[in-house]
Symmetry: C2
Subunit: 309 residues, 2 copies
């Protein structure tokens, strides 16, 4: 019989589960529908049943969950989650502890990802900033090996920094980074600009543009797609300047769907960041694509108890 | 015989000393000229002699020093200080330890101030951001009771964030906050705009404008002076938006010469910051003028060993 950690990544559509060994390997994975309408009680029961089947002869000694939104880390309560908008003040930690009878940690999803990258990404640093590029833009901060949570559990909101231009963000602020480089915005920009002769047009052939198609088109030399990534990268690089000047991380890890565009977006990010970073002799600073990808959230959640409890 | 801590604030012109009791009171103060030309050895000897006279019958059990610039906190080495530009790679910690034969901590001056504010300001929080407004604009971060240093000892560079407009900053970046709200800039702006009938003109009566005179003129209703503070406050408030979104502090403390302008600058800071902060139900966040003023640097330096050694 082996002791394992359970990591849970609660998304708006799916909830992913992973059993993690003491060495940080995901030994078994599972998935269930999140179903907001059925309520949190049903989700917790679904998680428990799924986990029971996954664990077999082994035992779970620690559970952690990551979920988008404002999470009271100390109490393990979901204050508000944009993906599960009708769930307010859900005591997820208590509910999971009643089922599993082991310590449970609950956190914002990007904090879980950042913690996973720090613990298992092998970047060799105690000072890491991780951000996710996808529908939204999130961030998580590790400083001297500690996860930075903030006084209101609201630290790391990288997508809602920068404040340039007049785009209204869903959060209520004007000019947030997310309002310029979130998935929707990239796709909308490309759609508006693409022309009939472009590779992008052929790739989509009337279907919807996705960030993945956009990246493929860019690799095939589509000028519109290349421009969209270059502009987004420059904007992100400038916003990262604030992060570097304030937090001085050694490694910046890019995770999330759009990060799969690789150098298409990393190159303009790096070039612009350099212009907005104070020159220091021998400054240690690298901007890298995530080595863990989708696994970071599960790995981080599974070991969150170390830092939160 | 009592045990005391020695706090040292090394400025470009003067070096200030303070003996601090175990209860956090400055029981004795001293001052000497810094004199870059005489070299670091002469300064350390001057500090030791002055401290010996100050301590009388008591004993010093811990020493800390704060100095502007890039300081290797772990080794206690001055890599570069703008005020003492010819001093490169000075092992200040080792030099002071040889004299005093007690543990010595050396840090960036604004980090020492932030630590002093956190330890002795009585703000009742573990999450504090402190910035100084004066010739330059500095910053120091306390998160969950820990001082954030960064991978290159360069965290907290608030004055070199924000990146708006084309003003060239002394650090080499374009559009830094400091390039817009540093003392020189405020004074230059006022000088360019003031007219013969204004209170500011009468107050200066041909002499140089200082931030202090500028504040007095503003309190007497001088429109130019009021506008200078309002503009600076708005700029600072927007830059603080990035700090709040990334670090989520509970208290923001404003220290340094210009902070003495009080509400003239705090009001526009608060109003603008609110517009660039994600609305959260019951968010804990206060922007306050320092309660410790000039004493914060000495108090912080004296107790830096707790956090750095």
């Amino acid at each position: 019989m082996q002791s394992e950690f359970l990591g849970i990544d609660i998304g708006g559509t799916n909830t992913r589960l992973g059993l993690v060994s003491s060495k940080g390997k995901i030994v078994s994975s599972g998935r269930l529908k999140t179903r907001m309408d059925a309520g949190p009680r049903a989700l917790v029961e679904g998680i428990f049943l799924k986990a029971a089947r996954m664990m077999g002869e082994n035992q779970i000694i620690q559970v952690g969950a990551g979920i988008a939104g404002l999470i009271d880390h100390r109490k393990g309560v979901i204050r508000f989650s944009p993906n599960l908008a009708s769930w307010r003040n859900v005591p997820l930690k208590d509910m999971l502890e009643q089922c599993f009878s082991v310590p449970v940690a609950v956190s914002n999803d990007v904090n879980a990802i950042a913690w996973g990258e720090y613990k298992y990404g092998g970047y060799g640093t105690e000072n890491l900033f991780c951000f996710t590029l996808g529908t939204g833009v999130g961030g998580g901060i590790i400083s001297d090996g500690a996860l930075i949570l903030g006084a209101n559990y609201a630290a790391g909101e990288f997508g809602h920094t920068s404040f340039e231009g007049n785009a209204k963000c869903s959060c209520g602020i004007t000019g947030c980074l997310e309002a310029y480089v979130g998935n929707d915005r990239l796709v909308r920009k490309a759609r508006r600009r693409m022309n009939l002769a472009s590779p992008l047009m052929k790739l989509t052939s009337g279907k919807e543009i996705t960030p993945r198609l956009l990246a493929r088109a860019a690799r095939e030399g589509d000028e519109v797609a290349l421009k969209v990534f270059a502009q987004a990268g420059r904007r992100i690089g400038k916003a990262l300047g604030n992060v570097v000047q304030l937090l001085d991380p050694e490694v910046i890890v890019v995770n999330g769907g759009v990060s799969k565009a690789g150098d298409l977006i990393l190159k303009p990010i790096r070039e612009t960041l350099k212009r907005y970073t104070m020159p220091l002799e021998g400054r240690k600073l690298r901007v890298m694509r995530s080595k863990l990808g989708d696994k970071a959230g599960i790995l981080g959640a599974a070991t969150l108890a170390e830092v939160l409890l």
